[in-house]
């Protein structure tokens, strides 16, 4: 399978007057085309930093990021980033919230609007297109945030703990929803999570990061039979707990 994203020897430190915080140390991995790639690691290890680098909000100190074999800055591939919280703007309706990215890139026209309305319909939000974000439940807000990201038609989706603000039941449902949406659209996705079962239930491979500064501990292949195609179904698969224990052990061991 083709490689979509190559990360080579990535290093990053935050500099403040109080001192230097090493966040990433020599990170290397590949993500294949159409793959669902999960990243797990202890809290504060540098996961969000990794996504900010992949998205290009900050530049690497050392190392390189290649998209389709081309350096990130020169590549025209669209990369969508879904942040840890939904950040829907209270002063905009849901429709104009999901149109934010298109507006910024000057691509919001009648046709784009029609597409957005269709997406809102598909994801069960059409009734709320004129509502304010405050009137939506947590799961609906998260879906709106996903539509805002998908509206830009990204080749690669970066998801930063998109479900962590939800209660457990909603979380399972929204995770099931969203990962199915992403899979049916055949996008390449990098999902950050601190929930091991979530990682196993959605991903093709799971990258385990060490505590700060983050280094790659291991990459685990996850594969289930074709009858376990949805995250909720995967949780009932016999291999699930074996994967879970393996991942747990991996995360616990200090090298």
């Amino acid at each position: 399978m083709k490689t979509k994203l190559e990360v080579r020897n990535l290093c990053y430190s935050y500099h403040t007057l109080e001192g230097e915080t090493q966040a990433l140390l020599n990170i290397s991995f590949d993500v294949r085309d159409g793959e669902f790639f999960a990243v797990v690691g202890p809290s504060g290890c540098g996961k969000s930093t990794l996504l900010s680098l992949l998205c290009g909000i900050i530049g690497p100190e050392e190392g390189s990021i290649l998209v389709d074999g081309i350096p990130r800055q020169e590549s025209h591939a669209a990369i969508g980033y879904m942040l840890q919280r939904d950040h829907l703007f209270e002063w905009r309706s849901i429709l104009s919230n999901v149109a934010l990215g298109l507006e910024i890139q000057n691509r919001y026209d009648e046709e784009a609007k029609k597409e957005l309305l269709k997406m809102l319909d598909t994801y069960g939000l059409s009734r709320f297109q004129n509502a304010r974000p405050g009137q939506l439940s947590g799961g609906m807000r998260q879906r709106a945030a996903l539509i805002r990201t998908l509206a830009l038609k990204p080749d690669i989706l970066l998801l930063d703990e998109p479900f962590s603000a939800l209660d457990y039941q909603t979380r399972l449902e929204v995770c099931d929803d969203i990962s199915t949406i992403i899979r049916t659209q055949n996008k390449t996705a990098v999902l950050i999570t601190h929930d091991l079962s979530e990682a196993i239930s959605v991903a093709d491979r799971v990258l385990v990061l060490s505590s700060r500064p983050a280094r790659v501990k291991s990459i685990m292949e996850v594969s289930f039979g074709p009858e376990f195609d949805r995250p909720l179904a995967r949780r009932n698969a016999p291999e699930f707990s074996a994967y879970f224990n393996e991942l747990w052990k991996e995360l616990k061991t200090d090298e």
């Binding site: 950040h87 703007f89 934010l100």
Partner: protein
């Protein structure tokens, strides 16, 4: 109406009652205060020559309204206040945006702004007259100088508190600093700007009155000085009363 459930109707009725109670209480307080004042004056608990009384003020107002002079003075002051108010808002917002846009600029200018803000502007007003002459422009500059520095400082502090994650969101969608400005900063600062406007309208009026004390040929400040030298208190009190009303009606109340 039939589409609403019982509890919703109950809720709406309750809200309506609450609004009514608030309005009634507002009016009641005013009426009570005026009545108390009049009563005290009539019973000679207070000296009505010094403290005046509502009825005397009203008569005085009618007298001045009769020859139309009061409206001229109110109009002049209102005009000066409005002009300086809009100047303060425009200058305040633009300067605060410039300071937000450049970290160096804001750090360089901060001590100067704090200093300018704490200057006693009323003491500067005589200087302004010497510099700029005895005219309306001077009064407006005096009013602007009273309000503008505090306004810049408040707005800038507010702007700097914009959620960094919201800025990251704009960046992740491919936006620049300009998009952050137009899509996040300005819309999220609307409540701040409005509350700042409410403070500024009062400050501008203070500035205008100070300016008129010193250099005007018309306006409420001029009238007050004139009255305090020539006439009993009715004049001053009517003027301040008018002035309050004038400033209060420029902005809508907070809970419409």
């Amino acid at each position: 109406m039939d589409g609403l459930s019982m509890s919703q109707q109950e809720f709406l009725a309750k809200e309506k009652l609450h609004k009514k109670q608030v309005s009634i209480c507002r009016v009641m307080i005013l009426v009570l205060l005026l009545a108390l004042w009049e009563l005290c004056a009539r019973l000679h608990i207070i000296d009505s020559f010094i403290f005046s009384s509502p009825v005397r003020i009203w008569n005085c107002f009618l007298e001045m309204a009769g020859d139309g002079s009061i409206f001229l003075h109110i109009g002049v002051t209102l005009f000066e206040t409005l002009v300086s108010f809009f100047l303060v808002i425009a200058a305040g917002v633009l300067a605060a945006i410039a300071l937000w846009g450049s970290r160096s600029l804001s750090e360089i200018l901060e001590p100067y702004l704090v200093m300018l803000n704490s200057l006693p502007k009323s003491a500067l007003a005589p200087l302004l007259i010497v510099w700029m002459g005895n005219n309306m422009r001077t009064i407006i500059v005096a009013a602007v100088s009273v309000a503008v520095f505090g306004s810049i400082l408040t707005l800038h502090t507010g702007f700097m508190q914009t959620d960094p994650d919201k800025i990251r969101l704009i960046q992740s969608l491919g936006g620049t600093k300009r998009d952050v400005l137009t899509k996040v900063l300005i819309p999220s600062s609307v409540p701040l700007i409005i509350s700042n406007m409410k403070v500024n309208v009062g400050l501008c009026l203070v500035g205008v009155i100070i300016g008129e004390f010193l250099s005007a040929k018309a306006g409420l400040g001029y009238l007050i000085i004139y009255a305090s030298q020539v006439f009993p208190c009715e004049y001053i009190l009517t003027e301040t009363h008018r002035a309050f009303k004038g400033s209060g009606s420029i902005l809508p109340p907070k809970h419409p």
